[in-house]
């Protein structure tokens, strides 16, 4: 099911479904759809758009030593690779924020390096302070032709300012600013950072080994330089009676999407695509020939052209009494399985939080069984260890909880896994 405008617009969406027809039934039925958004190759569009990047670094006491040193070196590397059209801000924060390098200054690299060397670790973690300063830096320089991105790096929990941070992320998303949130070590709040990133179409990343920070930042920076379109959003308008049960970004950076019908998908990189898996629950459809399930309103910002693209795709299927078994695209089947695994873990986390420990451990054991069967013994063992931990102490370990969560997400797209090895 291709968008009729494919070939003319700079990107297009195609949709695969788990069944080519709906079955006439007097009970609800499930349908999975996988939407893939791809760039169309255009002549003369080889000049990448300018990038405005805001790097927001936690400099609280716990960052002292290797963590801060690695962050500093990674930031230096990025600065030395900036193209003439790019701007960068470096913001550090603890209980308050300091703008170390501002987007409106074009510092020579040695000067920037000298300023980075002045960062000292001390104080607590107030993410709102840093995030707010980082977003404001982008607001000063953002233009219709720029790609605007915040990378937040933290190793701690913020207290009392979660709601204002999430509100800021919401505003940033509406202004076209995307946030990548990176958590180092075990102490950070994964639910909060997930939520912060998801609101903007960004990504939350678990860095359990500080050595992976530099390569990740480098990869992210190179990707951002090749953005084909950003602020990619699919708004799902369902037919009354149809429920969008879940939505999950399969690629890049696998993540469950924010609840609701406005699905922020982030940036589409040249030579890559965005894949979105949706699960619909369809009401009884017994007395009709065909049924419109939803309309997908796709919008995206095309920085190279300083314009926004909007298009709509209707998802409608015939209804038949006795459907003929049809092949399911292998990629869709694999995505549904892996997303189901990731959701099984999410359910176990909710069970544990709500005091349903037996249910949580049962779900973890089932998850571990599947992972063993799939040839993922290391992750399966981590899941079993968490199940044991949960039985003993009635709570997850911070490290295990994150390893399982980002590990199962990583299965969804091994190339762009949430957890870096």
């Amino acid at each position: 099911m291709n968008n009729p405008s494919a070939g003319q617009e700079p990107l297009y969406m195609e949709v695969h479904v788990s069944r080519p027809v709906l079955r006439a039934l007097d009970e609800p039925q499930v349908l999975y759809t996988m939407a893939t958004i791809r760039p169309t190759q255009q002549e003369g569009e080889n000049v990448p758009p300018p990038l405005n990047l805001s790097l927001v670094l936690d400099r609280s006491t716990s960052m002292a030593g290797e963590r801060l040193d690695t962050a500093r070196v990674s930031a230096e590397n990025i600065i030395s690779q900036l193209r003439p059209q790019d701007r960068i801000a470096i913001v550090t924060f603890s209980d308050r924020a300091e703008v170390l390098i501002s987007t409106d200054s074009s510092l020579p690299v040695p000067e920037a390096r000298a300023r980075l060397s002045l960062i000292q670790a001390s104080g607590g973690t107030e993410i709102y302070q840093g995030l707010s300063a980082g977003v404001n830096q982008l607001r000063q320089v953002r233009r219709p032709n720029t790609v605007d991105h915040v990378i937040l790096l933290t190793d701690g929990r913020t207290y009392g300012d979660e709601a204002s941070s999430l509100q800021l992320a919401e505003e940033a998303a509406q202004e076209g600013i995307e946030i990548t949130a990176m958590g180092i070590g075990e102490e950070w709040n994964d639910i909060f950072l997930d939520s912060l990133a998801t609101k903007t179409g960004g990504q939350a990343v678990y860095i359990d080994n500080i050595a992976s920070l530099g390569p990740f930042l480098q990869q992210k920076f190179l990707g951002l330089g090749l953005v084909h379109a950003d602020q990619v959003v699919v708004e799902v308008e369902t037919t009354p009676g149809v429920t969008l049960q879940s939505s999950f970004r399969v690629n890049p950076a696998p993540m469950p999407l924010h609840e609701g019908h406005m699905l922020r998908l982030g940036s589409l990189f040249a030579g890559n695509n965005i894949t979105l898996l949706m699960e619909y629950l369809i009401p009884p459809v017994s007395q009709m020939d065909s049924y419109e399930i939803s309309r997908l309103h796709l919008s995206a910002h095309l920085a190279r052209r300083s314009t926004n693209l909007r298009t709509v795709l209707s998802l409608s299927l015939p209804v038949v009494q006795e459907p003929v078994p049809a092949p399911i695209p292998g990629s869709l089947l694999t995505a549904v399985r892996n997303v189901t695994l990731a959701r099984l873990d999410e359910k176990a986390l909710v069970d544990a939080q709500t005091g349903h420990l037996n249910l949580a451990t049962t779900r973890l054991e089932r998850l571990a069984t599947r992972l063993f069967e799939m040839g993922e013994p290391d992750l399966a063992k981590t899941v079993m260890d968490e199940s044991t931990q949960l039985r003993r102490s009635h709570s997850f370990s911070e490290k295990g909880k994150k390893a399982v969560k980002y590990g199962t997400r990583g299965l969804v797209d091994p190339k762009h896994g949430g957890k870096l090895k």
Binding site: H16, V30, R337
Partner: protein
């Protein structure tokens, strides 16, 4: 609602993996196929046209696979290539066409048995190093040696017999 065969959770029709235990929900439970009487099996095989009348299948054709003993066709629709085999627990790559519901295990079909792909104008079959072999009209297809398929050819995976036909009606 249908029942997960592993954890017995009730799931909606159309569910692919059980949300409670992540087992593949059996299509048999959700989409029963009508088995033909045994004499129909002979009929399908007997009906195949003689070699001289076969025309090669082409990418624009509407092609379907029909397993001997079943009157349902599996249309090759929407993809350029298909892997035929058995979807089993713990498999990293799941075949595009899962033949489990046709007794594939008993008939010696491998998990990843045979690959069909449209190339240029032809539909090609190649064996994926299966244990019991892939045959077109009883001639073995070797791994890495794709062979073209014609209308009415009998594709055999182990002992599972599949007729490859150009579809007459819309499905």
């Amino acid at each position: 609602m249908i029942s997960c065969h592993v954890c017995h959770a009730s799931v909606y029709y159309g569910t692919l993996f059980c949300p409670e235990c992540c087992a593949r929900v059996s299509e048999d439970a959700s989409s029963p196929t009508n088995a033909l009487p045994a004499d129909k099996v002979e009929e399908i095989i007997a009906e195949k046209p003689s070699d001289g009348s076969r025309s090669p299948l082409q990418s624009g054709d509407s092609i379907s696979l029909r397993v001997a003993g079943n009157n349902v066709g599996i249309p090759l629709f929407g993809q350029q290539e298909y892997i035929l085999g058995r979807a089993e627990k713990g498999q990293a790559v799941i075949p595009d066409i899962d033949l489990n519901r046709f007794g594939a295990h008993e008939k010696g079909v491998s998990r990843l048995h045979c690959h069909l792909r449209f190339e240029g104008e032809s539909l090609l079959a190649v064996d994926l190093g299966s244990a019991n072999g892939t045959f077109i009209n009883d001639i073995r297809v070797l791994p890495d040696h794709p062979a073209p398929l014609s209308d009415g050819d009998i594709l055999r995976l182990g002992n599972l017999v599949i007729e490859v036909t150009r579809q007459s009606g819309a499905y």
